[in-house]
Protein backbone atom coordinates (compact mmCIF):
# COMPACT_ATOMS: atom_id res chain seq x y z
CA UNK A 1 0.00 0.00 0.00
CA UNK A 2 1.29 3.41 -0.96
CA UNK A 3 0.07 6.30 1.13
CA UNK A 4 0.65 9.97 0.36
CA UNK A 5 0.08 12.50 3.10
CA UNK A 6 -0.18 16.19 2.28
CA UNK A 7 2.03 15.82 -0.75
CA UNK A 8 3.06 19.30 -1.80
CA UNK A 9 5.23 20.44 -4.65
CA UNK A 10 5.66 23.57 -6.67
CA UNK A 11 7.66 24.07 -9.88
CA UNK A 12 7.22 27.38 -11.59
CA UNK A 13 3.53 27.91 -12.24
CA UNK A 14 2.59 24.38 -11.46
CA UNK A 15 1.58 23.25 -7.98
CA UNK A 16 0.30 20.10 -6.31
CA UNK A 17 -1.76 21.09 -3.30
CA UNK A 18 -1.39 18.81 -0.29
CA UNK A 19 -2.55 15.62 -1.92
CA UNK A 20 -3.75 12.73 0.23
CA UNK A 21 -4.34 9.40 -1.41
CA UNK A 22 -3.84 5.69 -0.88
CA UNK A 23 -3.01 3.06 -3.47
CA UNK A 24 -3.87 -0.45 -2.20
CA UNK A 25 -1.36 -3.26 -2.84
CA UNK A 26 -2.04 -5.19 -6.08
CA UNK A 27 -4.37 -2.43 -7.22
CA UNK A 28 -4.50 -0.96 -10.71
CA UNK A 29 -4.82 2.66 -9.71
CA UNK A 30 -5.40 5.35 -12.33
CA UNK A 31 -4.75 9.02 -11.72
CA UNK A 32 -6.88 10.93 -14.18
CA UNK A 33 -6.00 14.51 -15.02
CA UNK A 34 -5.63 16.89 -17.93
CA UNK A 35 -2.52 16.84 -20.12
CA UNK A 36 0.08 19.21 -18.82
CA UNK A 37 -1.33 19.23 -15.30
CA UNK A 38 1.93 17.99 -13.77
CA UNK A 39 1.09 14.31 -13.60
CA UNK A 40 4.59 13.35 -14.72
CA UNK A 41 6.03 15.42 -11.90
CA UNK A 42 3.77 13.69 -9.41
CA UNK A 43 4.99 10.29 -10.59
CA UNK A 44 8.59 11.47 -10.40
CA UNK A 45 7.98 12.58 -6.84
CA UNK A 46 6.63 9.17 -5.92
CA UNK A 47 9.66 7.54 -7.59
CA UNK A 48 11.96 9.78 -5.53
CA UNK A 49 13.30 11.74 -8.48
CA UNK A 50 11.68 15.05 -7.51
CA UNK A 51 12.00 16.26 -3.94
CA UNK A 52 8.66 16.92 -2.24
CA UNK A 53 7.09 18.19 0.93
CA UNK A 54 4.67 16.02 2.83
CA UNK A 55 5.12 12.33 3.53
CA UNK A 56 5.08 9.12 1.53
CA UNK A 57 4.65 5.67 3.05
CA UNK A 58 5.00 2.20 1.59
CA UNK A 59 3.34 -0.43 3.81
CA UNK A 60 3.58 1.98 6.77
CA UNK A 61 7.28 2.58 6.32
CA UNK A 62 8.15 6.17 5.56
CA UNK A 63 9.99 6.53 2.22
CA UNK A 64 9.82 10.30 1.72
CA UNK A 65 13.60 10.72 1.76
CA UNK A 66 14.57 7.33 0.33
CA UNK A 67 16.61 7.65 -2.91
CA UNK A 68 14.96 6.18 -6.03
CA UNK A 69 17.37 3.25 -6.24
CA UNK A 70 16.17 1.99 -2.87
CA UNK A 71 12.44 2.34 -3.44
CA UNK A 72 11.95 -0.50 -5.93
CA UNK A 73 9.40 1.47 -7.94
CA UNK A 74 9.54 0.82 -11.69
CA UNK A 75 9.04 3.78 -14.01
CA UNK A 76 7.83 3.93 -17.61
CA UNK A 77 7.97 7.35 -19.24
CA UNK A 78 5.54 8.50 -21.87
CA UNK A 79 8.23 8.30 -24.57
CA UNK A 80 9.86 5.29 -22.86
CA UNK A 81 13.41 6.68 -22.38
CA UNK A 82 15.15 3.48 -23.50
CA UNK A 83 18.92 3.58 -22.98
CA UNK A 84 20.49 4.27 -26.40
CA UNK A 85 23.79 2.63 -25.46
CA UNK A 86 22.20 -0.79 -24.85
CA UNK A 87 20.33 -3.14 -27.17
CA UNK A 88 16.87 -4.45 -26.28
CA UNK A 89 18.21 -7.26 -24.10
CA UNK A 90 20.59 -4.91 -22.32
CA UNK A 91 17.76 -2.50 -21.60
CA UNK A 92 15.50 -5.18 -20.18
CA UNK A 93 18.20 -6.75 -18.01
CA UNK A 94 19.69 -3.46 -16.82
CA UNK A 95 18.53 -3.87 -13.21
CA UNK A 96 20.28 -7.19 -12.56
CA UNK A 97 23.66 -5.53 -12.20
CA UNK A 98 22.40 -3.49 -9.28
CA UNK A 99 20.14 -5.83 -7.36
CA UNK A 100 19.51 -9.52 -7.04
CA UNK A 101 16.56 -10.53 -9.23
CA UNK A 102 14.68 -13.56 -7.92
CA UNK A 103 14.54 -16.24 -10.65
CA UNK A 104 15.91 -13.81 -13.21
CA UNK A 105 16.05 -16.28 -16.13
CA UNK A 106 12.51 -17.47 -15.64
CA UNK A 107 11.22 -13.93 -15.31
CA UNK A 108 13.11 -12.83 -18.42
CA UNK A 109 11.74 -15.73 -20.48
CA UNK A 110 8.25 -15.04 -19.22
CA UNK A 111 8.45 -11.32 -20.04
CA UNK A 112 9.79 -12.02 -23.53
CA UNK A 113 6.92 -14.40 -24.08
CA UNK A 114 4.22 -12.24 -22.46
CA UNK A 115 5.17 -9.06 -24.33
CA UNK A 116 6.17 -10.77 -27.59
CA UNK A 117 9.78 -9.59 -27.60
CA UNK A 118 11.66 -12.67 -28.81
CA UNK A 119 12.42 -11.31 -32.28
CA UNK A 120 13.62 -7.96 -30.90
CA UNK A 121 16.17 -8.98 -28.28
CA UNK A 122 19.35 -8.21 -30.21
CA UNK A 123 17.99 -5.14 -31.96
CA UNK A 124 19.31 -1.62 -31.53
CA UNK A 125 16.61 0.42 -29.82
CA UNK A 126 16.85 3.08 -32.52
CA UNK A 127 15.14 0.72 -34.93
CA UNK A 128 12.03 -0.02 -32.85
CA UNK A 129 8.50 1.25 -33.46
CA UNK A 130 6.59 3.11 -30.75
CA UNK A 131 4.71 0.00 -29.68
CA UNK A 132 7.90 -2.07 -29.53
CA UNK A 133 9.67 0.56 -27.44
CA UNK A 134 6.71 0.61 -25.10
CA UNK A 135 6.87 -3.16 -24.58
CA UNK A 136 10.64 -3.02 -23.99
CA UNK A 137 10.21 -0.20 -21.46
CA UNK A 138 7.54 -2.19 -19.65
CA UNK A 139 9.68 -5.32 -19.64
CA UNK A 140 12.67 -3.34 -18.34
CA UNK A 141 10.62 -1.97 -15.45
CA UNK A 142 8.97 -5.31 -14.59
CA UNK A 143 12.28 -7.19 -14.77
CA UNK A 144 13.48 -5.22 -11.75
CA UNK A 145 10.64 -6.86 -9.76
CA UNK A 146 9.19 -3.53 -8.63
CA UNK A 147 6.85 -3.26 -5.68
CA UNK A 148 4.99 -0.72 -7.75
CA UNK A 149 4.96 0.26 -11.42
CA UNK A 150 4.59 3.95 -12.26
CA UNK A 151 3.23 4.43 -15.78
CA UNK A 152 3.20 7.88 -17.33
CA UNK A 153 0.60 8.06 -20.14
CA UNK A 154 1.81 4.68 -21.39
CA UNK A 155 -0.63 4.52 -24.29
CA UNK A 156 -0.45 8.02 -25.72
CA UNK A 157 2.48 7.37 -28.05
CA UNK A 158 1.07 4.08 -29.33
CA UNK A 159 -0.53 3.54 -32.70
CA UNK A 160 -4.29 3.05 -32.11
CA UNK A 161 -4.22 -0.36 -33.80
CA UNK A 162 -1.93 -1.75 -31.09
CA UNK A 163 -3.50 0.11 -28.19
CA UNK A 164 -6.08 -2.54 -27.35
CA UNK A 165 -3.51 -5.33 -27.30
CA UNK A 166 -1.27 -3.34 -24.96
CA UNK A 167 -4.21 -2.40 -22.75
CA UNK A 168 -5.00 -6.10 -22.36
CA UNK A 169 -1.38 -6.77 -21.34
CA UNK A 170 -1.38 -3.90 -18.88
CA UNK A 171 -4.51 -5.19 -17.18
CA UNK A 172 -2.84 -8.52 -16.56
CA UNK A 173 0.35 -7.12 -15.03
CA UNK A 174 -0.70 -6.73 -11.41
CA UNK A 175 -1.66 -10.38 -10.97
CA UNK A 176 0.93 -11.92 -13.27
CA UNK A 177 3.89 -10.07 -11.79
CA UNK A 178 2.64 -9.60 -8.26
CA UNK A 179 2.85 -5.83 -8.30
CA UNK A 180 0.83 -2.63 -7.95
CA UNK A 181 0.27 -0.18 -10.78
CA UNK A 182 -0.10 3.58 -10.60
CA UNK A 183 -1.02 4.80 -14.07
CA UNK A 184 -1.53 8.46 -14.95
CA UNK A 185 -3.53 9.48 -17.99
CA UNK A 186 -5.86 12.12 -19.37
CA UNK A 187 -7.96 9.48 -21.10
CA UNK A 188 -10.98 8.34 -19.07
CA UNK A 189 -11.74 5.54 -21.55
CA UNK A 190 -8.35 4.02 -20.75
CA UNK A 191 -9.17 4.40 -17.09
CA UNK A 192 -12.58 2.76 -17.40
CA UNK A 193 -11.05 -0.38 -18.91
CA UNK A 194 -7.98 -0.66 -16.70
CA UNK A 195 -8.66 0.83 -13.32
CA UNK A 196 -9.65 -0.78 -10.04
CA UNK A 197 -9.55 2.63 -8.39
CA UNK A 198 -9.46 6.12 -9.84
CA UNK A 199 -8.42 9.48 -8.48
CA UNK A 200 -9.35 12.56 -10.49
CA UNK A 201 -6.80 15.35 -10.20
CA UNK A 202 -7.62 18.80 -11.57
CA UNK A 203 -5.68 22.03 -11.01
CA UNK A 204 -3.32 20.31 -8.58
CA UNK A 205 -6.11 18.99 -6.33
CA UNK A 206 -7.66 15.56 -6.01
CA UNK A 207 -11.36 16.13 -6.53
CA UNK A 208 -12.62 12.60 -6.24
CA UNK A 209 -11.25 9.18 -5.52
CA UNK A 210 -12.89 5.77 -5.26
CA UNK A 211 -13.69 2.54 -7.06
CA UNK A 212 -13.50 2.98 -10.83
CA UNK A 213 -17.15 2.45 -11.71
CA UNK A 214 -18.21 4.70 -8.86
CA UNK A 215 -16.03 7.62 -9.99
CA UNK A 216 -16.88 7.13 -13.64
CA UNK A 217 -20.64 6.89 -13.15
CA UNK A 218 -21.23 9.03 -10.07
CA UNK A 219 -19.05 12.12 -10.21
CA UNK A 220 -19.44 14.21 -7.08
CA UNK A 221 -18.70 17.56 -8.66
CA UNK A 222 -19.49 19.39 -11.85
CA UNK A 223 -15.75 19.73 -12.70
CA UNK A 224 -15.23 15.97 -12.50
CA UNK A 225 -18.39 15.33 -14.47
CA UNK A 226 -17.26 17.67 -17.24
CA UNK A 227 -13.81 16.15 -17.29
CA UNK A 228 -15.27 12.64 -17.52
CA UNK A 229 -17.20 13.67 -20.61
CA UNK A 230 -20.65 13.85 -19.06
CA UNK A 231 -23.10 15.58 -21.37
CA UNK A 232 -26.27 17.42 -20.44
CA UNK A 233 -25.19 18.97 -17.16
CA UNK A 234 -27.91 21.31 -15.98
CA UNK A 235 -29.01 22.93 -12.71
CA UNK A 236 -31.28 20.65 -10.68
CA UNK A 237 -33.76 23.51 -10.42
CA UNK A 238 -34.80 22.76 -14.00
CA UNK A 239 -36.43 19.57 -12.70
CA UNK A 240 -38.08 21.40 -9.84
CA UNK A 241 -35.52 20.57 -7.15
CA UNK A 242 -34.92 23.51 -4.86
CA UNK A 243 -31.25 22.78 -4.10
CA UNK A 244 -29.41 25.57 -5.83
CA UNK A 245 -25.92 24.09 -5.87
CA UNK A 246 -26.91 20.71 -7.33
CA UNK A 247 -26.76 19.61 -10.94
CA UNK A 248 -28.26 16.75 -12.82
CA UNK A 249 -27.07 14.86 -15.86
CA UNK A 250 -28.88 12.71 -18.36
CA UNK A 251 -27.38 10.10 -20.66
CA UNK A 252 -27.77 11.25 -24.32
CA UNK A 253 -29.04 7.77 -25.22
CA UNK A 254 -31.96 8.03 -22.79
CA UNK A 255 -33.51 11.18 -24.18
CA UNK A 256 -36.58 10.66 -26.33
CA UNK A 257 -38.47 12.96 -28.66
CA UNK A 258 -41.76 13.48 -30.32
CA UNK A 259 -43.89 10.37 -30.77
CA UNK A 260 -41.72 8.28 -28.38
CA UNK A 261 -42.49 10.78 -25.65
CA UNK A 262 -45.92 9.60 -24.62
CA UNK A 263 -44.79 8.70 -21.14
CA UNK A 264 -41.79 10.24 -19.36
CA UNK A 265 -41.20 11.54 -15.84
CA UNK A 266 -39.84 14.82 -17.14
CA UNK A 267 -41.15 16.47 -20.24
CA UNK A 268 -40.09 19.72 -21.92
CA UNK A 269 -40.88 21.57 -25.10
CA UNK A 270 -37.73 21.97 -27.15
CA UNK A 271 -36.57 23.41 -30.44
CA UNK A 272 -34.41 21.11 -32.56
CA UNK A 273 -31.34 23.10 -33.53
CA UNK A 274 -29.17 20.67 -35.37
CA UNK A 275 -29.24 17.04 -36.50
CA UNK A 276 -25.98 15.30 -37.45
CA UNK A 277 -25.91 11.82 -38.95
CA UNK A 278 -22.97 9.77 -37.60
CA UNK A 279 -22.51 6.15 -38.79
CA UNK A 280 -25.33 4.34 -37.00
CA UNK A 281 -26.98 7.19 -35.09
CA UNK A 282 -27.98 10.84 -35.17
CA UNK A 283 -26.61 13.44 -32.81
CA UNK A 284 -29.40 15.85 -31.96
CA UNK A 285 -28.92 19.24 -30.32
CA UNK A 286 -32.12 20.73 -28.94
CA UNK A 287 -32.70 23.81 -26.82
CA UNK A 288 -34.99 24.11 -23.82
CA UNK A 289 -35.00 27.78 -22.87
CA UNK A 290 -31.32 28.71 -22.52
CA UNK A 291 -30.22 25.09 -22.00
CA UNK A 292 -28.93 22.97 -24.83
CA UNK A 293 -29.59 19.23 -24.66
CA UNK A 294 -27.56 16.66 -26.56
CA UNK A 295 -29.18 13.35 -27.53
CA UNK A 296 -28.29 10.30 -29.57
CA UNK A 297 -31.00 8.54 -31.54
CA UNK A 298 -30.27 5.29 -33.42
CA UNK A 299 -30.92 5.58 -37.15
CA UNK A 300 -33.45 2.74 -37.00
CA UNK A 301 -35.61 4.77 -34.61
CA UNK A 302 -35.38 8.04 -36.50
CA UNK A 303 -37.81 6.83 -39.14
CA UNK A 304 -40.62 6.69 -36.57
CA UNK A 305 -40.19 10.37 -35.63
CA UNK A 306 -40.75 13.53 -37.60
CA UNK A 307 -37.66 15.31 -36.29
CA UNK A 308 -36.16 18.02 -38.45
CA UNK A 309 -34.05 21.07 -37.77
CA UNK A 310 -36.12 24.02 -36.55
CA UNK A 311 -39.07 21.88 -35.41
CA UNK A 312 -40.69 22.36 -32.00
CA UNK A 313 -41.28 19.02 -30.34
CA UNK A 314 -41.58 17.38 -26.91
CA UNK A 315 -38.35 16.10 -25.23
CA UNK A 316 -38.56 13.66 -22.33
CA UNK A 317 -36.65 11.31 -20.07
CA UNK A 318 -37.19 9.26 -16.94
CA UNK A 319 -36.26 9.84 -13.34
CA UNK A 320 -34.30 6.55 -13.16
CA UNK A 321 -31.95 7.73 -15.92
CA UNK A 322 -30.81 10.99 -14.38
CA UNK A 323 -27.79 11.39 -12.15
CA UNK A 324 -27.66 14.03 -9.46
CA UNK A 325 -24.31 15.73 -8.88
Amino acid sequence: MLRAEKLFLRRGEFMLQRLDFTVPTHDYFVLLGRSGSGKTMLLESIAGIQPIEGRLYWEDREITRLPPERRDFGFVYQDFALFPNFDVRGNIRFAERYKPIVEAEKLFEDLVDFLGLSSLLDRNIRHLSGGEKQRVALARAIFSRPKMLLLDEPLSAIDPTFRNAIMASLKEITSRYDTTVLHVTHNFREASYLADHIAVILDGKILQTGRAEEVLHKPTSIEVAKFLGFKNLFPASLLGFDQEQRYFTIDPNKIRFDGRCREGDYRFDCTVERIMGITDHYKIFASVGTHRFFAKVPKALMASTALREGAKTPLCFNRKDIGII
Binding site: E44, P68, F75, F94, R97, R140, S144
Partner: protein, 254 residues
Protein backbone atom coordinates in the same frame (compact mmCIF):
# COMPACT_ATOMS: atom_id res chain seq x y z
CA UNK B 1 24.69 38.20 -59.59
CA UNK B 2 23.78 35.00 -61.38
CA UNK B 3 24.50 31.48 -60.26
CA UNK B 4 27.69 31.06 -62.24
CA UNK B 5 29.18 34.34 -61.06
CA UNK B 6 28.40 33.45 -57.46
CA UNK B 7 30.17 30.09 -57.60
CA UNK B 8 33.12 31.48 -59.58
CA UNK B 9 33.79 34.08 -56.91
CA UNK B 10 33.25 31.77 -53.93
CA UNK B 11 35.36 28.97 -55.38
CA UNK B 12 38.12 31.45 -56.16
CA UNK B 13 38.12 32.94 -52.64
CA UNK B 14 37.73 29.53 -51.02
CA UNK B 15 40.69 28.17 -52.97
CA UNK B 16 42.92 30.93 -51.60
CA UNK B 17 42.01 29.94 -48.04
CA UNK B 18 42.54 26.24 -48.73
CA UNK B 19 45.89 26.84 -50.44
CA UNK B 20 47.04 29.13 -47.68
CA UNK B 21 46.34 26.37 -45.12
CA UNK B 22 47.84 23.52 -47.12
CA UNK B 23 50.84 25.14 -48.79
CA UNK B 24 53.13 25.62 -45.75
CA UNK B 25 52.72 22.02 -44.62
CA UNK B 26 53.25 20.77 -48.15
CA UNK B 27 56.33 22.95 -48.58
CA UNK B 28 57.71 21.80 -45.25
CA UNK B 29 57.49 18.11 -46.13
CA UNK B 30 58.69 18.75 -49.69
CA UNK B 31 61.70 20.67 -48.43
CA UNK B 32 62.63 18.11 -45.77
CA UNK B 33 62.08 15.12 -48.05
CA UNK B 34 62.08 11.43 -47.19
CA UNK B 35 65.79 11.45 -46.46
CA UNK B 36 65.46 14.37 -44.04
CA UNK B 37 62.58 12.69 -42.23
CA UNK B 38 64.45 9.41 -41.92
CA UNK B 39 67.39 11.25 -40.49
CA UNK B 40 65.16 13.14 -38.04
CA UNK B 41 63.70 9.85 -36.79
CA UNK B 42 67.23 8.59 -36.24
CA UNK B 43 68.15 11.59 -34.07
CA UNK B 44 67.70 10.54 -30.44
CA UNK B 45 67.29 14.10 -29.25
CA UNK B 46 64.36 14.61 -31.63
CA UNK B 47 62.84 11.24 -30.77
CA UNK B 48 63.03 11.75 -27.03
CA UNK B 49 61.66 15.25 -27.42
CA UNK B 50 58.66 13.99 -29.39
CA UNK B 51 58.14 11.19 -26.87
CA UNK B 52 58.28 13.72 -24.03
CA UNK B 53 55.74 15.92 -25.80
CA UNK B 54 53.35 13.03 -26.35
CA UNK B 55 53.74 11.82 -22.78
CA UNK B 56 53.25 15.21 -21.12
CA UNK B 57 50.29 16.09 -23.36
CA UNK B 58 48.71 12.75 -22.49
CA UNK B 59 49.32 13.37 -18.79
CA UNK B 60 47.68 16.80 -19.12
CA UNK B 61 44.63 15.19 -20.81
CA UNK B 62 44.49 12.51 -18.12
CA UNK B 63 44.61 15.11 -15.33
CA UNK B 64 41.82 17.18 -16.89
CA UNK B 65 39.77 14.06 -17.69
CA UNK B 66 39.93 12.99 -14.04
CA UNK B 67 39.01 16.40 -12.62
CA UNK B 68 37.34 18.28 -15.46
CA UNK B 69 34.82 15.62 -16.49
CA UNK B 70 33.22 15.63 -13.02
CA UNK B 71 33.16 19.43 -13.20
CA UNK B 72 31.53 19.28 -16.64
CA UNK B 73 28.90 16.86 -15.32
CA UNK B 74 28.02 19.11 -12.39
CA UNK B 75 27.74 22.15 -14.65
CA UNK B 76 25.65 20.27 -17.22
CA UNK B 77 23.23 18.78 -14.69
CA UNK B 78 22.74 21.44 -12.04
CA UNK B 79 21.90 25.07 -11.63
CA UNK B 80 23.72 26.82 -8.84
CA UNK B 81 24.62 30.39 -7.95
CA UNK B 82 27.69 31.55 -9.83
CA UNK B 83 27.31 28.91 -12.54
CA UNK B 84 27.49 31.44 -15.39
CA UNK B 85 30.61 32.99 -13.87
CA UNK B 86 32.19 29.56 -13.47
CA UNK B 87 31.47 28.72 -17.10
CA UNK B 88 33.14 31.95 -18.24
CA UNK B 89 36.16 31.21 -16.05
CA UNK B 90 36.53 27.78 -17.63
CA UNK B 91 36.73 29.49 -21.03
CA UNK B 92 39.25 32.09 -19.87
CA UNK B 93 42.49 30.18 -20.65
CA UNK B 94 41.55 30.16 -24.35
CA UNK B 95 41.65 33.95 -24.39
CA UNK B 96 44.79 34.83 -22.46
CA UNK B 97 48.20 35.13 -24.17
CA UNK B 98 50.11 31.90 -23.57
CA UNK B 99 53.23 33.58 -22.20
CA UNK B 100 51.07 35.49 -19.73
CA UNK B 101 49.50 32.22 -18.64
CA UNK B 102 53.01 30.82 -18.16
CA UNK B 103 53.89 33.72 -15.88
CA UNK B 104 50.68 33.27 -13.91
CA UNK B 105 51.36 29.54 -13.47
CA UNK B 106 54.90 30.29 -12.36
CA UNK B 107 53.63 32.80 -9.80
CA UNK B 108 51.09 30.35 -8.45
CA UNK B 109 53.08 27.11 -8.38
CA UNK B 110 56.73 28.10 -8.77
CA UNK B 111 57.33 29.55 -5.36
CA UNK B 112 57.61 26.80 -2.86
CA UNK B 113 54.53 24.92 -1.80
CA UNK B 114 54.58 22.55 -4.78
CA UNK B 115 58.27 21.90 -4.10
CA UNK B 116 57.56 21.26 -0.45
CA UNK B 117 55.18 18.50 -1.57
CA UNK B 118 58.20 16.89 -3.25
CA UNK B 119 57.38 17.95 -6.80
CA UNK B 120 59.62 20.04 -9.03
CA UNK B 121 57.88 22.67 -11.10
CA UNK B 122 60.39 24.87 -12.90
CA UNK B 123 62.25 22.96 -15.63
CA UNK B 124 60.35 19.77 -14.92
CA UNK B 125 57.73 17.59 -16.60
CA UNK B 126 55.26 18.59 -13.86
CA UNK B 127 55.58 22.20 -14.98
CA UNK B 128 55.15 21.22 -18.64
CA UNK B 129 52.03 19.19 -17.85
CA UNK B 130 50.62 22.10 -15.83
CA UNK B 131 51.20 24.56 -18.67
CA UNK B 132 49.60 22.24 -21.20
CA UNK B 133 46.65 21.40 -18.95
CA UNK B 134 45.96 25.03 -18.07
CA UNK B 135 45.82 26.29 -21.64
CA UNK B 136 43.95 23.47 -23.30
CA UNK B 137 41.59 22.18 -20.57
CA UNK B 138 38.57 24.14 -21.88
CA UNK B 139 38.43 21.96 -24.99
CA UNK B 140 37.88 18.81 -22.97
CA UNK B 141 35.69 20.35 -20.26
CA UNK B 142 33.39 22.09 -22.73
CA UNK B 143 33.22 19.01 -24.93
CA UNK B 144 32.21 16.88 -21.96
CA UNK B 145 29.68 19.49 -20.83
CA UNK B 146 27.97 19.51 -24.23
CA UNK B 147 28.05 15.73 -24.27
CA UNK B 148 26.37 15.42 -20.86
CA UNK B 149 23.74 17.99 -21.82
CA UNK B 150 22.78 15.81 -24.76
CA UNK B 151 22.10 12.81 -22.52
CA UNK B 152 18.40 12.93 -21.61
CA UNK B 153 18.24 13.29 -17.84
CA UNK B 154 15.32 10.87 -17.81
CA UNK B 155 17.64 8.02 -18.79
CA UNK B 156 19.38 8.68 -15.52
CA UNK B 157 16.08 8.81 -13.65
CA UNK B 158 14.97 5.48 -15.07
CA UNK B 159 18.35 3.90 -14.30
CA UNK B 160 18.02 4.97 -10.69
CA UNK B 161 14.54 3.47 -10.36
CA UNK B 162 16.12 0.25 -11.66
CA UNK B 163 18.53 0.21 -8.74
CA UNK B 164 21.60 2.05 -10.04
CA UNK B 165 23.17 4.53 -7.62
CA UNK B 166 24.71 7.85 -8.60
CA UNK B 167 28.05 6.29 -9.59
CA UNK B 168 26.40 3.47 -11.51
CA UNK B 169 24.27 5.94 -13.45
CA UNK B 170 27.31 8.07 -14.24
CA UNK B 171 29.36 5.10 -15.46
CA UNK B 172 26.73 3.25 -17.43
CA UNK B 173 24.43 6.00 -18.70
CA UNK B 174 25.96 9.49 -18.62
CA UNK B 175 29.54 8.68 -19.60
CA UNK B 176 28.68 6.34 -22.51
CA UNK B 177 26.09 8.87 -23.71
CA UNK B 178 28.66 11.67 -23.78
CA UNK B 179 31.51 9.49 -25.04
CA UNK B 180 31.72 10.94 -28.53
CA UNK B 181 31.93 14.54 -27.32
CA UNK B 182 34.38 13.66 -24.56
CA UNK B 183 36.64 11.85 -26.98
CA UNK B 184 36.53 14.71 -29.49
CA UNK B 185 37.26 17.16 -26.67
CA UNK B 186 40.16 15.04 -25.44
CA UNK B 187 41.61 14.83 -28.95
CA UNK B 188 41.30 18.59 -29.41
CA UNK B 189 42.88 19.18 -26.04
CA UNK B 190 45.67 16.74 -26.70
CA UNK B 191 46.55 18.23 -30.09
CA UNK B 192 46.52 21.72 -28.62
CA UNK B 193 48.73 20.57 -25.75
CA UNK B 194 51.22 19.05 -28.22
CA UNK B 195 51.72 22.48 -29.77
CA UNK B 196 51.91 24.45 -26.53
CA UNK B 197 54.98 26.69 -26.63
CA UNK B 198 54.45 30.07 -24.96
CA UNK B 199 53.59 28.87 -21.47
CA UNK B 200 55.90 25.85 -21.55
CA UNK B 201 58.95 27.85 -22.54
CA UNK B 202 58.47 30.19 -19.57
CA UNK B 203 58.19 27.35 -17.07
CA UNK B 204 60.50 24.74 -18.59
CA UNK B 205 63.02 25.38 -21.35
CA UNK B 206 64.46 22.02 -20.38
CA UNK B 207 63.56 19.21 -20.76
CA UNK B 208 62.72 20.30 -24.30
CA UNK B 209 59.30 19.48 -25.71
CA UNK B 210 59.14 19.43 -29.51
CA UNK B 211 57.95 23.03 -29.99
CA UNK B 212 60.78 24.28 -27.78
CA UNK B 213 63.30 22.07 -29.61
CA UNK B 214 62.10 23.46 -32.94
CA UNK B 215 62.51 27.00 -31.62
CA UNK B 216 65.90 26.20 -30.09
CA UNK B 217 67.28 24.68 -33.28
CA UNK B 218 65.89 27.51 -35.37
CA UNK B 219 67.54 30.10 -33.12
CA UNK B 220 70.88 28.33 -32.96
CA UNK B 221 71.21 26.76 -36.42
CA UNK B 222 68.46 28.21 -38.67
CA UNK B 223 65.61 26.95 -40.79
CA UNK B 224 67.43 24.00 -42.34
CA UNK B 225 67.93 22.30 -38.97
CA UNK B 226 64.55 23.05 -37.43
CA UNK B 227 62.42 21.96 -40.42
CA UNK B 228 63.02 18.18 -40.02
CA UNK B 229 62.02 18.35 -36.34
CA UNK B 230 58.85 20.21 -37.28
CA UNK B 231 58.01 17.72 -40.03
CA UNK B 232 58.62 14.74 -37.76
CA UNK B 233 56.44 16.20 -35.01
CA UNK B 234 53.58 16.95 -37.41
CA UNK B 235 53.77 13.49 -38.92
CA UNK B 236 53.59 11.73 -35.57
CA UNK B 237 50.65 13.89 -34.40
CA UNK B 238 48.69 13.29 -37.59
CA UNK B 239 49.26 9.54 -37.42
CA UNK B 240 48.11 9.36 -33.79
CA UNK B 241 45.12 11.57 -34.53
CA UNK B 242 43.97 9.41 -37.44
CA UNK B 243 44.56 6.25 -35.42
CA UNK B 244 42.38 7.40 -32.51
CA UNK B 245 39.59 8.50 -34.85
CA UNK B 246 39.71 5.21 -36.68
CA UNK B 247 39.61 3.16 -33.48
CA UNK B 248 36.66 5.20 -32.23
CA UNK B 249 34.69 4.90 -35.46
CA UNK B 250 35.27 1.17 -35.46
CA UNK B 251 33.98 0.76 -31.92
CA UNK B 252 30.96 2.95 -32.76
CA UNK B 253 29.91 0.64 -35.54
CA UNK B 254 29.71 -2.40 -33.29
Amino acid sequence: MDNRGFYALFIFLGSIAALFLIAPLFKLFWGVGAAGLTEAFGDTEILSSIALTMRTALAAVAFVALTGIPLAYLVARHDFPGKAALESLIDLPVMVPHTAAGIALLAAFGNGWVQRMGLDFVDSTTGIVAAMAFLSAPFLINGAKEGFKKVDVRYEHVARTLGAGRFGVFWRIALPGARQEILNGALMMWSRALGEFGAVVIIAYHPMVAPVLIYDRFNSYGLKYSAPVAAAMILVSVVVFILVRWLNNRSNRI
